[in-house]
Symmetry: C2
Subunit: 142 residues, 2 copies
């Protein structure tokens, strides 16, 4: 599967993988391309069904999980935990937040600067039921 640069603003998945030290195999490239182009925060299963038809050969479940873990470790994608029991993936690795629409289940990205003043309104477009800040870091013991 050769690259056919259909859209200009999306960086080549191949380049991205190379720049992160990940060998751009066809499977990895197609999975990365899918994640870069979607805004749907898919699960591994959703990646599998979306990408399976784009590849000439069948794609195994194990490869999807292997690739997602490889891309995650290489910093190409991030995990998003919104619901119990499922992990979603996001190729937007800029510092941003997520807004879960409880009606539709859709997850949309919220740029970091939008929430600078937490507790204040996000804008008319969003009706916030609640939010949670999840910190990762270290506590000084003592």
């Amino acid at each position: 599967m050769t690259a056919h640069n259909h859209t200009e603003q999306i960086p080549s998945a191949e380049q991205l993988l190379l720049s992160r030290g990940v060998k751009p195999t066809p499977q990895r490239v197609v999975i990365a391309e899918y994640l870069l182009q979607t805004e749907s925060h898919p699960t591994a299963d959703e990646v599998l069904s979306a990408v399976a038809q784009a590849l000439p050969v069948a794609l195994s479940r194990a490869t999807v999980y292997n690739t997602l873990n490889t891309l995650k470790e290489a910093g190409v994608i991030k995990e998003v935990l919104t619901e119990p029991g499922r992990v979603r993936y996001d190729a937007n690795i800029t510092h941003h937040h997520h807004f879960v629409d409880v009606k539709t289940g859709k997850i949309v990205d919220i740029p970091s600067d939008k929430v600078e003043a937490i507790g204040k309104l996000l804008g008319d477009q969003y009706k916030v039921h609640g939010f949670q800040v999840l910190f990762y870091g270290e506590v000084e013991s003592g």
Copy 2:
């Protein structure tokens, strides 16, 4: 198992369940008591092993899950998602946030007012590697 009010500041689990319309069976009371008294944000499995010895009879896994779901639906506890594949529970239902110590895996509560100015330091006690705001609500379609 009769109540023996060993600590004053913790509200009686029995009262709490009754006030939320949950029938206070021995299993539910012991599970609620455990969650109210701990700060460890335990998983279902951790609840089971911690509580099993406190009950005169054996406690089944299904009852732990049933009870946790009942308590969650009644608003007595909340789910906390910090790692893929596991759900943790928190009986602190005030609006607060969580800080995951990546060294120890411990999750500590951060009161809401601490993070009013997101992006600024949480205080010397915490070394923040990153944080994520998780919103729940609705997007205006359009």
